[in-house]
């Protein structure tokens, strides 16, 4: 797996500030199956090239977002920080940007933005975006 120890430590810091994700996935009907979307979104990291160049700036961006989320009690920033911190472990290229953007598939903000849609439609949309993130990640990270 890519990533230096400090980059993994940044991921842990972001996970710390993202624990409310578990509550949202468990209790919020609009966020159900978010955990599956998260697993699907993570999957492309399993086949990324090891040892390829990473972009340290991403770890700094994740750190800044997580710190701001902690100070402002704004979860949406914590989840964005988690996504960026995980992206910092991967070999970065601009082709990975769609994959990073599709991290919205596992975030509660998707449920909030689509709250006027029927619950099942939100779940289908969430999993469709997660499936799209697998394709985008495969294109970005394939060896």
């Amino acid at each position: 797996m890519n990533g230096s120890r400090v980059e993994w430590a940044v991921v842990v810091f972001c996970v710390w500030h993202s624990v409310d994700l578990l509550t949202a996935w468990r209790y919020s009907p609009l966020d159900r199956w978010g955990w599956l979307a998260f697993v699907l979104w993570l999957a492309p990291l399993a086949w990324m090239r090891t040892g390829a160049g990473r972009w340290t700036a991403l770890a700094w961006i994740a750190l800044a977002l997580a710190l701001t989320s902690a100070m402002a009690q704004l979860n949406v920033l914590a989840y964005a920080a988690l996504a960026v911190s995980l992206a910092a472990l991967a070999p970065w290229s601009w082709r990975a940007l769609p994959w990073l953007a599709l991290s919205v598939a596992w975030m509660p903000v998707l449920g909030w933005a689509c709250q006027s849609l029927p619950l099942n439609t939100v779940t289908v949309l969430r999993l469709t975006l997660a499936a799209a993130s697998v394709v985008a990640g495969w294109r970005a990270f394939r060896k």
Binding site: S4, R5, V6, E7, A9, V10, F13, H17, D20, S28, P29, L30, T56, A59, W60, L63, A66, L67, T68, A70, M71, A72, Q73, L74, N75, G111, W112, Q115, S116, L119
Partner: protein, 195 residues
Amino acid sequence: MKTTANNFLWIGLAVAVVLSLAWEFIPLNDASARLEKLPVQGLGFAGRDVPLSDTEAAVYKPARVMKRLYQVGKERVVLVAIDGSRDRHAVHDPLYCFHGAGWNVVTSRDVAVSGGSAKLLTLKKNDRTVEAVFWFSDGTERHTSVLRYWLQTTLRRLTLGCSGEEPLLVILQPLTGTTLRWDRLLVCFPLLFEF
């Protein structure tokens, strides 16, 4: 070069951890005083505090929540006021919560109240139709925008309370019947819309 970059990142991480912890321990002035200003009894209305259910207590903890049943003329309404000073995550977008609980918003309109507006909702679930009114209040201005609430509370936390008062989320629902005669409430119990 790589080692130097990593060392800087370690330092940044250490600073972030310290600041995160420090921010949790710096107390933020809450809205208790404003909540306590709302009288339990007065001319034309009488109320009593209602304990939170176990689920409500679990959802709102550790935020301060006032749940009160008021009789105003023939109207019986339940008021829930949530002060997220201690935990802003306890305050959710009411529309998001209603949708999540399976309610469909049939109608939604703004109604004028002192210092701004409140949102009057007609909600439907299966064969049941009810009304609810909600607003965010910083004691001076009242509005119905959750984005504005997030902006207010975010600025407040980043400035350690210097940017203004903590907005409360206030929700009113009828206890009996399905409709809420909010216009009568405004006349008979204006204090309800002023704290």
